[in-house]
């Protein structure tokens, strides 16, 4: 078992990052699945991270309560901005949520007394372990999978494909969108709260535009066909740079190239590719030519 310990000592942060990134990918999956292009998830992650970290650091709150508060505050922020912004669609919604993300980042940067400003928060107790992250990921995946295969999943798929037709068939499109946006924010807040408690340090730059785009990339790469796709996208985006470590300077180049190729050949996301492969394998086993 010694190798396991060495392995864990080296890769624990990476493994935990995969976990929190899966939560982030699931958070954007929720909005993408009903056809919303939002990029506020990095900000929601930041709200969760700062809320939870401040509570454990300054108020001595129990870890569980701090994490819960982080997720809830992110959800509350989403509820507040969701009502006016979700009426927008397409690029306009992306712009509005992007602006919100910047507002959050600048607020964190300037509320120095509370957040430490640009210096960030240091010495956050390392309370989040593999078990916490694993439980959070498993629970989020289980709930979203159950939802995806229910009447709810069917409704959001309909909204994604034609929201006017869905509304005219009696679906309260606004309520579905708001629910997905708020639930996604709660997940992002949860990811941020967990993440803050194993990285020791958080700063405002971690929750800016780059992170927002990274989250979006995980969601788009995975596709909206299933929550599994989001998980796969998150794992790939997190692990690919590590696997390409041997390439030295060429790493970002090859990393980008691989992502472009995946999107080119599977525009509906990785999960679509996996499902197609599974179908072909089943057909081959059944002996019918495909």
């Amino acid at each position: 078992m010694e190798w396991l310990e060495t392995f864990w000592a080296t890769y624990s942060t990476l493994a935990l990052s995969v976990g929190t990134n899966i939560l982030l990918a699931l958070s954007i999956y929720l909005t993408l699945a009903c056809g919303l292009l939002t990029v506020a998830n990095a900000a929601f992650m930041g709200i969760g991270a700062y809320t939870a970290a401040l509570l454990t650091l300054n108020a001595g709150a129990p870890f569980g309560a701090a994490v819960l508060a982080g997720a809830l505050l992110a959800a509350a922020a989403a509820l507040a901005i969701g009502r006016p912004t979700l009426r927008l669609s397409g690029v306009y919604l992306a712009m509005a949520t992007l602006a919100f993300g910047e507002v959050v980042r600048i607020l964190i940067l300037n509320a120095e007394d509370l957040t430490g400003g640009a210096l960030g928060l240091n010495g956050i107790p390392q309370l989040a372990g593999a078990v916490h992250v694993l439980v959070a990921v498993a629970a989020a995946l289980a709930i979203l999978l159950r939802l995806a295969h229910s009447r709810f999943g069917r409704a959001i798929a309909a909204i994604r494909q034609d929201e006017i037709a869905a509304e005219l068939l009696g679906l309260d499109v606004g309520a579905y969108k708001l629910f997905c946006f708020v639930a996604g924010a709660a997940l992002a807040g949860l990811a941020g709260a967990l993440n803050a408690h194993f990285t020791f340090f958080i700063g405002p730059s971690e929750f800016g535009f780059e992170r927002a785009v990274e989250i979006l990339a995980m969601g788009v790469l995975g596709g909206v066909a299933s929550p599994w796709g989001a998980a796969l996208g998150a794992a790939l985006i997190t692990l690919l740079p590590e696997m390409l470590r041997g390439l030295g300077h060429y790493r970002p180049l090859i990393n980008g190239l691989i992502l472009i190729l995946i999107i080119l050949y599977s525009p509906n996301g990785l999960w679509d590719l996996v499902r197609a492969a599974a179908r072909r394998a089943r057909a081959a086993r059944a002996g019918t030519p495909c």
Binding site: A157, Q161, A165, A166, G170, D172
Partner: protein, 255 residues
């Protein structure tokens, strides 16, 4: 049953509908015709809540509809089809119908709490089979909507509108793009629906289709109702003839 009282719709200076008054009685098929751009589909959009009137009221069985969101209006019993087909293309024929039965089964909270197979799912599936059989798509339940032929897609859209459980069905050019045989089939289907107690309002350009089917017709031109009555009366109305054919130069030249 349905009443439009002094309905106006303006977009800035553009007057799309001007003082439209329509009272549609219960039973019987009601036709709405008029040249392109007269505002026919706009009237459907007003009834279904996609647009709000600038002035006037829309009432359905005595209840105000204007100002209500579309999904509430659907739940009060108004369903429609679209001029250009709007099916959920990636979903199977059956799923298209199941989505439409989601609204009547309660809102988002119920949908969230209900698991697979529970909460009336079996009942909804049975109803979907029934509707598919009714529009002769019984063997296409699993087929993706995008893989259906044009005529089949039109029939599926009709079934999907019926799946919401309407009291009033609005059909926006249901016969568009159909051949003569398909049109005859559609006509007998619409007659059957009317006989089963459904109120029906149709927009259609095919005059033969509409004259045969409707008990009453209203003619819309440039956002105003210019005539209303039985098909024979409407056909003979000089204003209608003018709207469709224009007037001859001689009479136009007179002051």
């Amino acid at each position: 049953m349905l009443r439009l009282a002094s309905v106006c719709l303006h977009f800035g200076g553009l007057r799309v509908l001007e003082d439209v008054n329509l009272e549609i009685p219960e039973r019987g098929i009601f036709g709405l015709i008029g040249p392109n751009g007269a505002g026919k589909t706009t009237i459907f959009n007003l009834i279904t809540g996609l647009l709000a009137p600038s002035a006037g009221a829309v009432e359905f069985f005595g209840e105000r509809l204007d100002g209500q969101p579309p999904h509430r209006i659907v739940r009060r019993g108004i369903a429609r089809t679209f001029q250009n087909i709007r099916l959920f293309r990636d979903m199977s024929a059956r799923e298209n119908l199941l989505v439409a039965m989601g609204g009547e089964s309660g809102g988002i909270a119920r949908a969230l709490l209900a698991g697979r197979g529970r909460d009336g799912e079996a009942r909804r599936r049975a109803r979907a089979e029934e509707l598919l059989a009714r529009v002769r798509l019984g063997d296409k339940a699993e087929t993706a909507a995008s893989a259906l032929s044009y005529g089949e897609q039109r029939r599926l859209e009709l079934a999907r509108a019926l799946a919401t459980g309407p009291r009033l069905l609005l059909l926006d050019e249901p016969a568009a793009g159909m051949n003569a045989g398909e049109k005859r089939e559609l006509m007998s289907e619409i007659v059957k629906l009317e006989e089963s107690g459904l109120n029906i309002m149709i927009i259609e350009h095919d005059m033969g289709f509409i004259m045969n089917l409707c008990r009453e017709i209203a003619v819309l031109n440039f956002g105003r109702i210019i005539a209303r009555g039985a098909p024979a009366e409407v056909r003979a109305d000089p204003q209608v003839i003018e709207a469709y054919l224009g007037r001859d130069e001689e009479s136009a030249a007179k002051p």
